[in-house]
């Protein structure tokens, strides 16, 4: 397409936007809301995954040894298991000290309390999903009294993340369909307003792509503006959340870096553009198939 063809497409696009200004604004507003919700869900899922990952990385199996157990032999056997990443032997005295440290008990009082703990081996696995199976195996070893791991927290976060992803996906599908429907409708209005012009274009031999182009640009325009607004809103909200957490709930970490936020914003704008173009393409094709 020559330069003048591009100019023509841009002028047509701009005319269409001006002609349906109110409807275009409403469509962009709707699109912004849809994309913002979509973006918020995406961020939620990313962070729950991140959180679950942090938890899982730290998660270990506590192997409580019998009084006469051979800790070294058990560790050797554990290291033969490929799923095991690392082990640590903690003597009963160390366990008591850790406990005292955690609870703020004065170590001098420990003598009086006595040591109720056994020796412990902590086992880290490469893949958190292997925790239950490895725990089961270790439980069978000679000299092992009991096996425990913090299954609940990790599993709950993973389940929550899974839930968010599934519900987000379903809601997302609805929102995407809604977004495309909105664009579809505004582009249909444009087609209706331009039907005489489109008819003439067809008569003088414009290709279907040339007829589609201004319509697709209109959809893309709505997508870019809607996506940019949504990305701005969500990014600001996310920054506020981040600074609130940093001040008030330091143990709760979220994924936050300039790179991450920029990538997220660009992703949202790109998604908006794609939905806009797809919605426009849909109505353009439906119209062109009829004529």
């Amino acid at each position: 397409m020559e330069h003048s063809g591009l100019t023509f497409v841009l002028i047509e696009t701009w005319t269409a936007i001006r002609r349906n200004l109110l409807i275009t604004l409403a469509a962009i507003g709707n699109m912004t809301i849809c994309l913002a919700i979509l973006g918020a869900f995406a961020l939620g899922a990313v962070n729950l995954d991140y959180l679950a990952g942090l938890q899982a990385k730290g998660a270990f199996i506590s192997v409580y040894l019998k009084a006469d157990a051979d800790g070294g032999a058990i560790r050797d056997e554990l290291y033969r298991d490929e799923r095991v990443k690392n082990t640590e032997f903690v003597s009963k005295d160390q366990v008591l000290l850790e406990w005292a440290h955690m609870t703020g008990t004065d170590p001098s009082e420990l003598e009086i309390i006595g040591n109720p703990y056994p020796d412990i081996i902590r086992v880290w696995v490469a893949n958190p999903n292997d925790l239950p199976a490895v725990a089961e195996t270790v439980g069978q070893f000679d000299g092992v009294d009991d096996v425990q791991y913090r299954k609940s927290v990790t599993d709950k976060i993973l389940a929550l993340s899974q839930g968010i992803k599934i519900s987000g996906m379903m809601l997302g599908l609805l929102l995407v369909a809604g977004t495309m429907l909105i664009v579809n409708t505004t582009v249909r209005l444009t087609i209706y307003a331009r039907r005489r012009e489109i008819r003439i274009m067809q008569l003088v031999g414009a290709t279907n792509w040339f007829i589609r182009m201004p319509l697709l640009c209109e959809g893309a325009f709505q997508g870019i503006i809607g996506g940019t607004l949504a990305a701005t809103i969500v990014a600001i909200g996310y920054a506020c959340l981040h600074s609130y957490l940093a001040q008030n709930l330091q143990f709760l970490k979220i994924v936050y870096s300039a790179q991450f936020v920029i990538a997220f914003a660009l992703g949202l704008i790109l998604a908006g553009t794609l939905f806009g173009v797809a919605g426009a393409l849909f109505s353009a094709n439906r119209y062109l198939a009829k004529t």
Partner: protein, 228 residues
Amino acid sequence: MIYMEGIGLVYPDGTRALRGVDLHIERGEFCFLVGASGSGKSSLLGLIYREFVPTEGRVIVAGQDVAALPRKAVPFLRRQVGVVFQDFRLLPEKTIWENVAFALDVLGVGRKEKHHKVPISLELVGLADKGEAFPHQLSGGEQQRVSIARALVNAPPVLLADEPTGNLDPDVSWEIVQLLANIAERGTTVVVGTHDKYIVDLMRRRVVNLVQGTVVRDAKQGGSYDGT
């Protein structure tokens, strides 16, 4: 230039518009297509620019088998066939110049070429000084001239006119048909569908007469509306 053989056309709703039409129109020929309303003039013209696809028979236009063209090729056929209608079909918010240039715009033609071709086309129809006007500022005859200029700006070998004088006074109609005849003199094949007996009888050119979708008479030259 236009070659039809055994043409039949039945619309999706079952209406039969054409039956057994054979027609051969030479390059640069000027030809009337006449008949009562509903006799099939618009349908026959529509077959030439692939508005419709024949149910039976073959249509060859400028060497192309029109019915067999893939969808994608239709725009390229349309660039070789200019079409003019009774209602002019101008864009009211564009100037005369822009209306004519529109036919080039949508082909992605460059500025320079546009500024070369549009004035020539406007000059050809006698509206060289009206480029800045808007359609509503022009008379009906002038508006029809603009639509002819738009149809010709791409220099198509074929020009079709479907009731071009349907909305015009007799003397203006006469001028428009004269213009179309002049265009044919320059080598363009011109086919005019009309039921304007007055004009057809004045012109004494080739007349193809349709009755209920069938060619009942084809007066090669010196023809009249009803064969008298």
